[in-house]
């Protein structure tokens, strides 16, 4: 075991895969700058594999697609998830579609990295969590790791995957440290983690709602309510089996997600359970998500946006009836 931060895990994953496979290249504005996880890569891998990047998201995303269809495996780092919108056409109309459109003649093995800067006082144009939009687009695999070990293992798997993978990183978690297995640590796409077992309420939590759900679970456990916290880790393909099995056990479902409510990942998970797990459900499904308003700049307002341990605990408690008084910090 090693201890590293989420951010170090991202760097380590890219380093290991670039050493392993000369087809891996990195496209990132200011990717050589000291603030970036790829700082120094140019010295080891040379300017061809870490090219200087003009501010041209559409252009370099298209270039990554052309490169991927002809033998490379680009990692495209948008640095801020909102900047994907500038390249949306290339991601949605091309990266996601080209393999299908061309009858499988070529694959598009790209990893699109997108740090999500929400809860960081950068206001609406820099704080989005756009994975629900992309979940509606077939052809993209979508990952949101929440621990350093998963960041490492999923990023390495994503780089080796032959399909386009969009890799969303809650920037809040970049600084979090954790244990990481030694050796060539791979985490498969499409496999949920049971972050905590429990019998009373299933909490499917996404991104930094996972640590929030774990805090809520620790607090409620003291009151005799046991939450089962499931971290899907991969949103497409979603490990439906793990979610349905848990709801089958608990009969109650809370979905905690920092993305917007309408047509969010939480809506999809709720719909799946309302379709395929209806007979297990003993209570309404509850979504603990960001309201349908943009992240405001002001920290006094922005902290009202995202799932907190308190909001998750309150939703879970409401589903089981009301036990003793809550005291989540």
């Amino acid at each position: 075991m090693r201890t590293m931060s989420y951010r170090e895990a991202l760097r380590e994953a890219m380093l290991e895969e670039m050493r392993r496979d000369p087809a891996v290249v990195v496209f990132c504005e200011d990717g050589r700058f000291w603030t970036m996880p790829t700082n120094g890569f140019v010295d080891e891998f040379g300017p061809d594999r870490v090219p200087v990047m003009p501010i041209s998201e559409e252009g370099f995303t298209g270039a990554a697609i052309g490169a991927a269809m002809t033998g490379l495996r680009p990692i495209v780092d948008y640095t801020i998830a909102n900047l994907m919108y500038v390249a949306w056409d290339q991601i949605v109309n091309h990266a996601a579609k080209n393999r299908y459109l061309f009858g499988g003649q070529a694959s598009v093995p790209i990893v699109f990295r997108a740090a999500m800067k929400y809860a960081n006082a950068t206001a609406a144009q820099h704080s989005d969590r756009p994975y629900p939009q992309l979940m509606n687009v077939p052809g993209l695999k979508i990952v949101v790791p929440t621990t350093p070990a998963d960041a490492l293992g999923l990023l390495k798997s994503a780089i080796r995957d032959d399909d386009p993978v969009v890799f969303f990183e809650p920037l809040r978690l970049w600084g979090v440290k954790g244990e990481v297995p030694d050796g060539d640590h791979l985490v498969p796409l499409g496999k949920a983690a049971i972050a905590r077992e429990g019998r009373d309420v299933t909490v499917v939590a996404i991104g930094d709602a996972v640590p929030a759900a774990l805090k809520a679970a620790a607090e409620l456990a003291r009151q005799g309510v046991e939450l089962e916290v499931i971290d899907p880790r991969t949103l497409v393909p979603l490990d439906k089996g793990a979610i349905l099995a848990s709801v089958d056990k608990t009969g109650r479902l809370v979905i905690a997600d920092p993305a917007h409510k309408t047509c969010g990942a939480a809506a999809e998970i709720a719909a799946i359970v309302a379709e395929d797990g209806f007979s297990s459900l003993r209570a309404p499904i509850a979504r603990v998500v960001a309201p349908d308003v943009h992240p405001p700049f002001s920290p006094a307002l922005e902290r009202l946006m995202y799932p907190t341990p308190e909001r998750i605990a309150a939703a879970a408690t409401a589903l089981v009836g009301s036990p003793k008084e809550l005291a989540v910090p």
Binding site: D48, P54, S56, A63, A64, I65, G66, G71, K141, A193
Partner: protein, 331 residues
Amino acid sequence: MNREQDLEALRRMLRIRRFEEAAMDIVRKGQGIAGSVHICIGQEAAIVGSCLALRDDDYIVGYHRSHGHPIAKGAPLGPLMAELMGRRTGVCHGKGGSMHLADFGVGSLGETAIIGAGIPQAVGAAYSARVRGTDQVALAFFGDGAANIGSFHEGLNLASVWGLGVVFVCENNLYAMSTALADTMASESIAARAAAYRMPGVVVDGQDVAAVFDAVDAAVERGRSGGGPTLVEARTYRYRDHAEYGNMDLSHRPPDEVEHWRSRDPVELFRARLLADGVAEDQLAAVAESAAGEVRAAVAFAKRSPQPAPEELFEDLWATPLDAAPAEASR
């Protein structure tokens, strides 16, 4: 071009012409080509002159007016025609259709229905060649309408900054759908925009296959030897309206403009040139007959090919399937 190349140029132009005539015939008769069909008749010299300057392993990327490009790059016609008819034997298994022909076997990386979007993809293919240590070049075809979209700007700048072997070939047919280029671009020429990226920009007579070949050949040479990208603007004209969507003609164009360009039919011009150069009438007729025969065979192949089966709807989406994840779920 040498004599052999001359005849190959004629053959490929005629393949395109006959292929598209056959496609229009199928559309007109309702025999099984659905969707939007964009005919490039009139533009064959610009397309073929460009592709003949490439090696087999060089790359091309195209756009919605897509039939000519893979044909000019040497793709077999049967799977292309089957694609237009949505058959399972289509080069894209019926997934792409007329706007998305692609034949990776001959370096045709696909055509896109989104204006301008192929341009940076060609840049990426050239970048890929450099990283992989080959000297392949990449050629992007696009229309005049694409010169006003962001990808044009970003793609040309990237190729220039990275010093890549890309040839940008604008088939300037003067119109984007109904809109005259003069109304949407104040620049003197599309080629003049090359200066903004410190790359050479040349205007060439797009009806003259040899002139196009020469211009693109020089650009390819430059690109292959590390000299960077070039923008080639081929002035040409399409003889059909934007797409084959029924009762479309060129009646909204100035008649003398249409007349002028029709009198400069690229196939006729080149045939006349070859005759004047002393090529035997027979030889030209043989080339014409072989092209026509290939197209007849392609149509027959397409028509007798089966429709895709329902389960094929789900094929070709993923390289590694979604249910690859093991069932066990634990951290």
